[in-house]
């Protein structure tokens, strides 16, 4: 008997070393059950035995299956970068053990936010699958499977163990946008746009008299013969005419995002902190979506697009073309939003803007610094277009007696700032009118 007791104590020690420990329920079942039965025997009251019997019997039944090694959940890997709106099935597998009755694991709800609540699932399930939906773009933790394993009747438990965080980058969605024609970059040699200067393109620019240096194959013989017939001197001086064509040049678009501020229509929420997250429906969210849409549209037609972060100049991307550039910009937008809100004043230097590029500045224009910055860039001779991202209708703080006054002051200042920009020759447009404005600007050029 003593050997068996020793063996029992060794098994208890082994269970303890594997991470199992008894709960209050184990104490209750053992002490309560045995105590009531013992009291019933001592006091000769059978009802105490009846009341203690279920506790004792259930504890004995629960402990009949010995616990083994603590099952360790294994989390299947999902891609680190996903598209906004996508979903995926995350599988968490754990070895089935007859002694393990419950697994409490923290998993996100299908339509919930964050890492979600703890779910109690049967230990015999073997694997748990949960559907993850990435609705909001940005970078964050979407899974942290904290877990606790419990034996029968939760008399023995192991844990809780904090799970490893799964960080994921959700790229901003690409909304199709009809792109407008960009003015060609003067320095460009090849590209998709018709340049104002003569060159080797396909579009006819003019028919003019032959000049030294013109190629013979450019001679328009029909016009030359007509001119010769009119003067009576075929191939005489002044009768030879050539067809002159437009040059084709590439265009560069620099998208400047103001990551210093992120405001929503409700003024009362402007000072709220949301764990450095981008506010859904805020100006930064709208700016990022607009930048993604513009970049996708112009890159699709072969233009070169770059990115400027007015809050953090080091996060900018030099202009380039192609699908990889769109991916680069979307990744960088997530990085910009992660570091948003820390810069005191905007930075828009001349070396950030290639010569001849069109610069779109997307900002809510809530301070004079950004207006001065844009005006200075326009004074350097760049084509700068200010895209106003402030929500069209601001909502005053209903709990403050000065709420409406504050709203009117903000709106008035904002209007004056935009008027000052217009007076300095900067086109100010709402977010949806960028393509039309570019078209208008091109005609003017």
């Amino acid at each position: 008997m003593s050997e068996r007791v020793l063996g029992w104590s060794r098994a208890r020690r082994a269970a303890g070393s594997r991470g199992w420990r008894g709960t209050d329920a184990l104490v209750r079942g053992t002490v309560g059950g045995l105590g009531l039965v013992a009291c019933g025997v001592v006091l000769h009251r059978v009802e105490l035995v009846f009341l203690g019997a279920p506790l004792l019997v259930s504890t004995v039944l629960a402990l009949t299956v010995p616990v083994g090694a603590v099952p360790v959940p294994t989390v299947a890997r999902l891609p680190r970068t996903v598209e906004a709106g996508d979903d995926g099935l995350q599988t968490i597998a754990f070895p089935a053990d007859p002694a393990v009755e419950f697994l409490a694991v923290r998993l996100p709800l299908p339509d919930g936010e964050g890492i979600g609540p703890v779910h109690l699932v049967p230990g015999s399930a073997g694997s748990v699958r949960v559907r993850l939906r990435w609705n909001a773009w940005g970078e964050g933790v979407d899974l942290r499977p904290d877990h606790l394993v419990a034996g029968r009747d939760a008399l023995l438990i192991s844990g809780p163990v904090t799970g490893r965080e799964s960080r994921r980058t959700v790229l901003p969605p690409v909304v199709p946008l009809p792109p407008g024609p960009l003015p060609p970059r003067v320095a460009g040699l090849v590209g998709a746009h018709r340049s104002a200067r003569p060159g080797d393109g396909t579009e006819l620019r003019a028919v003019r008299p032959f000049q030294p240096g013109d190629r013979v194959r450019r001679v328009d013989w029909r016009v030359t013969l007509r001119a010769g017939a009119a003067t009576g001197d075929v191939l005489g001086p002044g009768t030879l005419h050539v067809r002159e064509r437009h040059a084709e040049a590439d265009a560069e678009l620099m998208l400047a995002i103001d990551s210093r501020v992120d405001v929503v229509p409700e003024l009362a929420r402007w000072s709220d902190s949301e764990d450095n997250a981008v506010r859904a429906g805020g100006t930064l969210d709208a700016s990022v979506r607009a930048v993604t849409a513009l970049a996708a549209g112009y890159l699709r037609q072969g233009d070169r697009v770059g990115l400027i972060d007015l809050g953090r100049p080091q996060l900018g991307i030099a202009p380039a073309a192609g699908h990889r550039q769109l991916l680069r910009i979307r990744h960088q937008l997530v990085a910009c939003s992660r570091a948003a809100g820390w810069a005191p004043k905007p930075v828009l230097r001349a070396r950030q803007m290639p010569s001849g590029a069109v610069v779109l500045v997307l900002s809510p224009f809530l301070d004079d610094a950004i207006a001065d910055c844009v005006a200075l860039a326009a004074r350097r001779g760049e084509l700068v277009i200010a895209v106003d991202m402030l929500p069209p209708r601001l909502v005053a703080d209903p709990e403050s007696p000065w709420g409406e006054v504050v709203r009117q002051v903000l709106v008035g200042e904002h209007r004056a700032r935009l008027a000052a920009l217009k007076a300095r020759g900067v086109a100010v447009v709402p977010c949806g009118a960028v393509a039309a404005t570019l078209r208008r600007v091109r005609r003017r050029r």
């Binding site: 104490v27 309560g32 009802e47 506790l55 019997v57 010995p66 109690l120 699932v121 015999s124 009747d153």
Partner: protein, 178 residues
């Protein structure tokens, strides 16, 4: 198994509260005084709010003491009703104690505990029925004591025998989650 939300764990606390209420009503109907019922009420609140505490054990002990002293008798309705209630309270508190606030439960998780609950209740009912048909005055008291002690001894023996069995699984300490 696909997680689809399940039921909130607060429902388990609701069940605990209902069980505690039933125990309180049982005590009140069987001669418990106002003070005793008030103490049972406080313990019930503690059971619901802090299930991982001695409160459930104290409530079970209080209920057993009250019904024993009330003279209801071993086979009275108060005792017979209290047997499953006590067991249910023990089970609900045990499961609730391992769940944090806001947790959710897959109903399939209750399948095995409820099956074992039914088996336990069936075996206890059998014990009660056997005790009912055994003549009260003809068995020598020493024999009754020996029988009851043997029940407790058997329970202990089952635990000892089972726990001394060498573990069949790998004894390596769980590494960090892969």
């Amino acid at each position: 198994m696909i997680i689809d939300g399940g039921v909130p764990a607060s429902r388990l606390r609701t069940v605990t509260a209902l069980v505690c209420l039933a125990i309180g009503v049982d005590l009140a109907l069987h001669g418990a005084g106002t003070f005793t019922v008030a103490v049972a009420g406080l313990l019930s609140v503690a059971c619901v709010l802090v299930p991982a505490s001695p409160a459930p054990l104290l409530l079970i002990g209080l209920a057993a003491a009250v019904l024993t002293s009330s003279g209801t008798g071993a086979f009275g309705l108060g005792v017979l009703v209290l047997i499953p209630l006590v067991h249910l309270l023990h089970l609900c508190c045990a499961i609730t104690a391992v769940l944090p606030k806001g947790a959710r439960i897959a109903p399939a998780a209750f399948r095995s505990p409820l099956r074992r609950f039914a088996v336990t209740q069936l075996s206890v009912t059998m014990i009660v029925l056997i005790a009912m048909i055994v003549p009260a005055g003809r068995t020598p008291p020493i024999l009754e004591v020996a029988a009851l002690l043997s029940i407790a001894g058997m329970a202990l023996a089952v635990i000892v025998l089972d726990r001394s069995r060498p573990p069949s699984r790998d004894e390596s300490h769980p590494a960090e989650m892969a």
